[in-house]
Symmetry: C2
Subunit: 409 residues, 2 copies
């Protein structure tokens, strides 16, 4: 195997980053179309949310001082001099010894600094209530700006919009959202043995798996995938298709070419298409070692292994981060699940190992990871698995019972 | 607070399930449109994958017996009598003492039962190689049907299609996929204090958050959301809108009405629209207690709290499972992340508590959950959080350092 420049995953990522021309393109979408899109700019609140002090309970807006010392046997009596109506400005003032009735979400009138829950009041007559439990200033009140303060950045560029973020954007009145355009990703499968899934697989042939698995991965990462079909392991055909794909897209994935000769074709085609060309040929990861990373015309091109498991894992390690952020740093943290692996697993130091695992929940709540054995050519092992466990390159393996990071599918 | 029938989350789920008419409707979509859709039927493989024994290495197809005892100093010599071409049927037989050259992915010829990697051979002359390391039968070979056996269920009804599942479906030649139609979900916000996000929020008013957060949650769950805007807390308006929403959709979400009077309006409207009507009014969950679960015309209707955090959490507990599966049991396991909570948290027994948390990774790889404090009316607390920690109803709380389940956003 000719691997002239084997890099670790970290080295591969930073090598790629050095050669990418970061030109994330932006579009403005209506708020309702924003889910899962990546913000292309910081979003700043221009006003306080809420814009006034609000009650969080049904009850009476009071001056807290008027309730000090109140008990069930010795209530504090206050005069009900007004009523806050839902959705309306509270015009007027609560003077000492006074209270206004107020619904949940109602605007606190001037003078009042707390709300007594209706459960802690008794009606003496139509104009007087007894408060049976004291409140402190601010009790049962959301203060103006307590949710969002005017002038603050509420969501950062690079953030992926979740349902609650749609809610927050609505709250601050942002109904058009600046997001990255999805990265266009061209997908090519190579291999003389491949046929389209709609075709019969005659003896010697297998159906193209990688185009479809990668298509799903690109979509999941927020990209816009386009399939270029199956190309023979032959220089001119691959060059023609790759030039077309590069022309139409921001990133190109070529998978297949598992045999030595075929791998060389992919690398040679990349080298003739443009500068800087192949940056590395081989990464210190298992499965997925015989991968090619390249940049041509400022666009990343990946030569992924033909084995579906390897292709998917290398995609996640190298291509996914670029597609997810369209060049921006990701503003959101991601966390693996921690699970106890249930058998000893060997791993070479200096190499990142990814082991397909199924997960199992024990009575005590802890989670066990059971390796899915099987060759990296078997897509069924990825289907059976719940995720992949990562044995980092600093480790020589793990012992049964040891906690490992599991990245869920 | 009038809560005439408070159920636990489990009781609420099973009460709802009893009244739902499970009519998941199906559609057939092209494979490339299948990502994240829920299979409406089991998918069965009609043929073996691969359809023949395949080499996983570049090398020579041999009879393993011919290599027994081979060493570097004393190689086993075999005659090269054929060549397997990629993607073509291997016609002929490897007789004892013979070998065929074979590429990775090539079809194993009859007679051969293993592949010797090219690295463990030496060329003696054009027609003879020496094997320097023995192979066992099956070495470096994927057997016919080893990935998928004909006649087996490869993916179950109720399974959500992931990228690798697209790959598997391609492998077995399934290019049209039977999936559940997305559940149509009508979303209504009620409250005299609400204004559309595109409008100014005058004093006393706040912008509608819940419609947008719920819209995102419905999409994420695989449903087809439709907004019905903001309705006043008034019987006739709500009845008219709810009838329209019920007519157009499979499920209806009404949020808001946080004040006592407003809550009653929602329940009364549901009661007049159809049978069986309100099934529970109040669930033993915090936040989210004042929630209504109902079934009308066989369709679920939820009255969610007005506080955005409560509405989102109750949606996830009760509505999401129905939308995700369109009535089918979910065929895929889901796992929480386990994290150590970093402070004592009180929780009443008999109630499920959900605490917004941010997560933090420690040097040793373990994950710490830090509660995000703040009222359930503040959407910013959901934005700040990475997920919610679950304190189950059997527990009276957790102590700092204890491991809890965290459901990531």
């Amino acid at each position: 195997m000719e691997l002239f420049n084997v890099l670790t995953v970290q080295q591969a990522r930073s090598t790629l980053a050095q050669h990418l021309t970061k030109g994330n393109r932006e579009e403005i979408v209506p708020l309702l179309n924003g889910l899962n899109r990546i913000l292309s700019r910081d979003i700043c609140a221009v006003e306080d949310v809420p814009g006034f002090d609000r009650s969080t309970m049904d009850g009476y807006a009071v001056r807290a001082k008027d309730t000090f010392g109140a008990t069930e046997s010795l209530p504090s009596y206050v005069n009900v001099t007004g009523e806050v109506l839902m959705g309306q400005e509270a015009v007027g003032t609560v003077a000492p010894g006074q209270a206004w009735s107020i619904p949940t979400g109602g605007m606190l009138p001037q003078g009042a600094d707390a709300v007594v829950m209706v459960e802690y009041t008794e009606e003496l007559d139509e104009l007087t209530i007894g408060v049976t439990k004291p409140v402190a200033p601010g009790d049962n009140v959301v203060r103006r700006g307590e949710d969002v303060k005017a002038g603050t950045v509420v969501l950062q560029a690079g953030h992926r919009i979740r349902p609650q973020d749609l809610g927050l954007l609505a709250a601050v009145g942002v109904t058009k959202v600046p997001v990255n355009l999805p990265l266009r990703v061209g997908i090519i499968s190579t291999g003389n043995e491949l046929v389209d899934p709609s075709k019969e697989a005659e003896l010697g042939k297998v159906r193209d798996i990688n185009s479809y698995a990668l298509y799903g991965q690109v979509l999941e990462a927020g990209g816009a995938p386009q399939l270029y079909g199956i190309v023979e392991d032959e220089f001119d055909s691959l060059k023609g298709t790759m030039e077309k794909a590069l022309n139409d897209n921001d990133l190109v994935l070529v998978s297949g070419g598992s045999s030595v000769g075929a791998r060389d074709v992919t690398a040679k085609v990349i080298e003739t298409i443009g500068e800087p060309g192949v940056l590395f040929h081989g990464i210190a990861v298992k499965p997925g070692k015989p991968s090619i990373g390249a940049v041509v015309q400022g666009k990343p091109v990946f030569g992924l292994p033909g084995h579906p498991v390897s292709a998917m894992i290398v995609f996640d390690l190298l291509a996914r981060p670029i597609i997810e952020t369209a060049g921006l740093p990701l503003a959101r943290k991601v966390f693996p699940l921690r699970a106890a692996i249930n058998r000893n697993m060997h791993s070479a130091t200096g190499r990142d190992d990814f082991i397909r695992v199924t997960l199992l929940r024990l009575e005590d709540g802890s989670i066990v990871a059971e390796p899915v054995l099987g060759k990296s050519g078997l897509i069924s092992t990825m289907v059976k698995a719940d995720g992949v466990a990562h044995l980092p390159l600093s480790k020589e393996g793990v012992e049964a019972g040891e906690l490992v990071d599991v990245w869920l599918f």
